[in-house]
């Protein structure tokens, strides 16, 4: 039975007071932890998806909307643009661009967006491995790993898309040509995990029901085998995406697109050869000023988004800090009142040989026990809360939020919590260590 065990017993001896302080503390820590985990993953999600993209070119509207729609796939498109207008930026020989990807949006399956694009998107987002194969023909799709997991899709499965982004059966294109899953990407940690990828032409064809009959010839899709594949879910080997093959496919898709200047796509993702080039820097302004298109810079728009989101989470953080202060006051009051009741006990400890320093340690330890308990409960609750909220957040942000991670900022939370516990206990501890032995005992 030493002074630290005693401090623990003292906490247990006043369960109601202690629980109150611990819960307040846990609430504050939980909230701060949740916000920290959210902010970290929110930022990481945004940053992972930057993928080195320097410009997004699309229809005029809100630049933030264009970025959110084309890069994060969480907002409606600003409109469509004619291929003819966008053609210069799709030209592989464009002097300023090292790469560009056309995007055609419009349909979804099971609330996951179907994106018509070129296979060069895999390299853009750093996807290198696929189970099965990449898409080669219209109506072939490659799904992101989360899509396949959530919708239980396997190689060879077929499905019909839904118009728009909602999972609404009334809007299903159930009498056209079905999509066939040709490949499933390995997880990339980017928005690709949440997308279904196919050729741009496929997105048009879904909306041209009349032409579906002719599509089947050209698509090369052999519709007879899918039944077998549906019944035995044998997984296909995982292969490394052949970048030469992807480039050849990309080139032919781009050439086909440029041959149809009247058709529309949603936007173009663009990478510069050099970012510091003056002409590159002027490109955004030139497009906005001199063409019917709009160009938006992901870095700029994301910074704008940070500052907007930031004020919201900041307000919540202040509330959490306020609760932490209330928790600290609650620890202070409970220690202080118990000290008054335990004046005689303090004197007894002194009689027994404990110096003032020991009494100081004991009361500090009581404050720390409460903050440590609150800290443990709060950290667990924050992580659990994030894990539970993760699936809800994933739908909205197209990024997999998890509570099962540890980030360096949490050490600051731990340090801060212990400091607050210490601070709340210091005054009572000083008071307690100054217990006047003789007077206290003489008064009985």
């Amino acid at each position: 039975m030493n002074i630290f065990k005693l401090s623990w017993k003292n906490i247990l001896a006043k369960p109601l007071n202690s629980i109150m302080s611990v819960l307040l503390f846990a609430l504050s820590i939980g909230l701060i932890t949740f916000l920290t985990l959210f902010n970290h993953q929110f930022k990481k999600g945004l940053e992972n998806n930057l993928a080195g993209i320097d410009l997004v070119i699309g229809a005029k509207g809100s630049p933030l909307q264009l970025i959110l729609n084309s890069m994060y796939h969480i907002d409606a498109p600003t409109g469509n643009i004619a291929i003819g207008e966008a053609a210069p930026f799709l030209n592989p020989k464009h002097p300023l661009l090292s790469g560009s990807i056309p995007l055609s949006l419009g349909d979804s399956y099971g609330a996951f967006r179907i994106v018509g694009t070129t296979p060069s998107i895999f390299k853009f987002y750093g996807a290198t491995q696929v189970e099965g194969d990449i898409y080669k023909n219209d109506f072939d799709v490659v799904t992101g790993s989360d899509v396949a997991h959530k919708l239980h899709l396997h190689i060879g499965n077929e499905f019909y898309s839904t118009h728009g982004l909602e999972d609404n059966p009334d809007l299903a294109h159930d009498h056209g040509h079905p999509f066939v899953v040709k490949g499933i990407l390995q997880p990339t940690g980017t928005v690709l995990d949440q997308l279904i990828l196919t050729t741009p032409q496929t997105v048009w064809k879904v909306h041209e029901h009349d032409s579906t009959a002719t599509d089947q010839e050209g698509s090369g899709h052999e519709g007879h085998h899918h039944d077998d594949a549906e019944h035995n879910h044998t997984s296909m080997p995982i292969i490394v995406i052949d970048s030469t093959e992807a480039q050849v496919l990309t080139d032919s898709i781009i050439a086909a697109l440029r041959a149809q200047p009247d058709k529309e796509i949603t936007s173009v993702l663009v990478k510069f050869k050099t970012r510091t080039n003056i002409q590159s820097l002027n490109l955004l302004r030139n497009i906005n000023a001199n063409t019917g298109l709009m160009a938006a810079s992901p870095a700029m728009e994301i910074n704008r988004l940070y500052s907007m989101m930031g004020s919201g989470t900041e307000a919540l953080q202040y509330i959490a800090i306020l609760i932490a202060i209330v928790a600290a006051i609650s620890i202070f009051i409970s220690l202080y009142t118990s000290l008054k009741e335990r004046r005689y006990e303090m004197a007894l400890l002194r009689v027994g040989g404990a110096g003032p320093g020991k009494l100081f340690q004991m009361i500090i330890a009581e404050g720390l026990w409460i903050s440590i308990l609150g800290l443990i409960i709060g950290l667990l609750a924050g992580h659990l809360g994030m894990e539970l909220a993760g699936s809800i957040l994933e739908e909205g942000y197209k990024y997999r939020f998890t509570g099962l991670l540890w980030i360096p900022q949490e050490w600051w939370i731990i340090g801060g919590a212990l400091f607050v516990g210490l601070l709340a206990a210091v005054l009572p501890a000083i008071q307690g260590s100054r217990t006047d032995l003789h007077r206290t005992l003489a008064e009985g």
Binding site: M1, L348, R350
Partner: protein
């Protein structure tokens, strides 16, 4: 063994109190008697090292207690002095046994559960070892207070009005028990009291005026 000489103690802003000398040899016990306000408790606290004298000397078992300060005094008090207070007070959050173990550990002595149990048995409260102290009767609490004073085998046992709350029968039993354990442990027992029932039980008397 305890001797004091020319002890004085000064409360802030008051003229110093002078105390008569106290001397107890081996197995000798003493009563400190006197009307209220003559400084009985102050003398007891001086002997117990709870306060330090303004002048004079206190020697307990060869140690000059008046020269000790701070940590050294705390350690000496914990190891060599057992004190029984007028009203039995304990650490409420601990059981009877834990109160004893804490007393050992505070004095820097390794907690000895077996010894603590034996002591509780000897004082007939062994069955209360794992009870919280506030659930025990006054008589049991008095016995536990004695156990706490004894657990570290002190050189002297100081008792401040130990019998004031007890009826005649309990009073007699309490003092007899104290004398018995003090003799067994070869400790000096010094009792502050104005209780006339005790006067006949201890021969040596120090009068304060």
């Amino acid at each position: 063994m305890i001797t004091t000489s020319k002890l004085t103690y000064a409360y802030p802003g008051q003229s110093p109190i002078q105390f008569p000398d106290v001397q107890c040899g081996e197995n000798e016990h003493a009563l400190i008697l006197g009307p209220s306000g003559t400084g009985k408790t102050t003398l007891l606290h001086l002997l117990g090292g709870l306060i330090s004298p303004a002048s004079g000397e206190i020697t307990i078992g060869g140690t000059s207690v008046d020269k000790l300060r701070g940590h050294a005094l705390d350690v000496f008090r914990g190891k060599r002095i057992g004190i029984i207070f007028q009203k039995p007070h304990f650490i409420r959050s601990l059981t009877a046994l834990e109160n004893l173990l804490l007393t050992q550990s505070l004095a820097g002595i390794e907690a000895d559960k077996k010894q603590a149990h034996l002591l509780l048995e000897r004082l007939s409260i062994g069955q209360k070892a794992n009870h919280k102290t506030h659930s025990m009767s006054i008589g049991e609490q008095q016995r536990l207070a004695i156990a706490r004073a004894l657990i570290n085998r002190p050189a002297i046992i100081l008792a401040d009005e130990p019998s004031s709350a007890l009826d005649d029968q309990n009073c007699q039993q309490m003092i007899e028990l104290l004398l018995q354990v003090a003799n067994e442990e070869k400790s000096n027992l010094i009792v502050v009291t104005h209780d006339s029932r005790i006067k006949s039980m201890i021969e040596k008397k120090v009068f304060l005026t």
